[in-house]
């Protein structure tokens, strides 16, 4: 990953440990930014 090209998304009200859990799970499905963002709005 290039630090200048990192794309950020809010974890909503998840703390960092739980955000990590969800990011790991959604990364088993997709690398697409919009889909990752949607997961954080859904779960």
């Amino acid at each position: 990953m290039d630090i200048d090209k990192l794309m950020f998304n809010t974890s909503d009200s998840l703390n960092s440990e739980k955000a990590r859990v969800l990011l790991r799970l959604i990364l088993t499905k997709t690398n697409e930014y919009d889909k990752i963002k949607k997961a954080f709005d859904t779960y």
Binding site: M1, I3, S16, E17, K18, R24, Y43
Partner: protein, 285 residues
């Protein structure tokens, strides 16, 4: 007179039904992973102890009356303090939990767990298990040998919740210190107090008083049956690291973590509402 007759009739009917279904207690599976709840201390007034010493059958013996709530099945999945929780145990635990949940003879499950990473395991299971049955995670803040140990009542309440109708369809629940929380919002907030588990942003879903359950709300974020994740399909979890932001910025650490080829994602625990140091703030959506 009429009211009395009706009451007598209802009482009679209840006694008849109780007799009829006396042998039909729900069956609850208890999956043990270790933690303080299975810990033994050096003295009753000390919090120095070794987590995960006790097997689940020894542990359950202290929860007097629990056998009246349900028929119990035991599975010692692991026996570790929860700071040692890892992907291997997570996947083993989740797969074992799913097997019990798929069994028609099981009404619900209880998972005993150390408190340090309980909220992470709860949220993981909340997203990957496919079930409407109650899945209850519980633990203890004090080892079983301590004064006013909390493991007997936590276990009793957890089994009551797992055997209940009320806890169905609410995802994975944390039952600690007479409170019921949803997996998404609940966190450990204090290093030693019995009421350490709280959902600061949304409050407890309900309360449980010696097995008597009162729910006041249910989680609205999607969980269990309504997620796109299924433990039966998960063989490996990509590596994601957490980097904490602070005064002065974390550019060097972020660069190092981002440069590692095995890291597939990064969680930045930003300041305030997730703010990052000058220069990366713009990247925030």
């Amino acid at each position: 007179m009429r009211i009395k007759t009706a009451t007598a009739f209802v009482l009679g009917l209840t006694m008849y039904l109780n007799g009829l279904f006396a042998d039909e207690k729900p069956t609850v599976a208890i999956l043990a992973t270790g933690g303080t709840i299975a810990g033994t201390g050096t003295s009753a007034s000390s919090n120095a102890y070794s987590a995960g010493d006790m097997a689940i059958n020894t542990l359950i013996a202290s929860a007097h009356g629990v056998e009246n709530l349900a028929n119990l099945k035991f599975n010692q999945v692991a026996n570790i303090p929860s700071p040692d929780m890892n992907d291997e145990v997570w996947l083993k635990l989740a797969k074992a939990a799913q097997e019990y949940l798929d069994d028609d003879s099981i009404s619900g499950i209880v998972i005993t767990h150390g408190t340090d990473t309980m909220e992470e395991t709860a949220y993981f299971l909340n997203l990957v298990l496919k079930t409407n049955k109650p899945v209850i995670i519980t633990g203890a803040m004090r080892p079983a040998t301590a004064l006013s140990a909390d493991d007997p009542i936590d276990l009793y309440n957890a089994v009551a919740a797992a055997a209940s109708e009320e806890a169905k369809g609410k995802g994975v629940l944390i039952v600690m210190d007479d409170r019921i929380f949803d997996a998404r919002d609940c966190s450990k907030t204090n290093t030693s107090t019995l009421d350490t588990f709280q959902s600061w942003n949304s409050g407890a879903l309900g309360y449980i008083d010696f097995g008597h359950i009162k729910f006041y709300k249910a989680p609205l974020r999607k969980h269990t049956m309504d997620t796109e994740f299924n433990i039966k399909e998960i063989k490996f979890l990509p590596k994601v690291d957490i980097v904490s932001e602070y005064e002065g910025g974390i550019t060097d650490i972020l660069k190092f973590v981002a440069s590692r080829p095995d890291v597939k994602g990064i969680v930045v625990a930003g300041v305030g509402d997730g703010n990052l140091y000058n220069g990366y703030r713009q990247a925030y959506v």
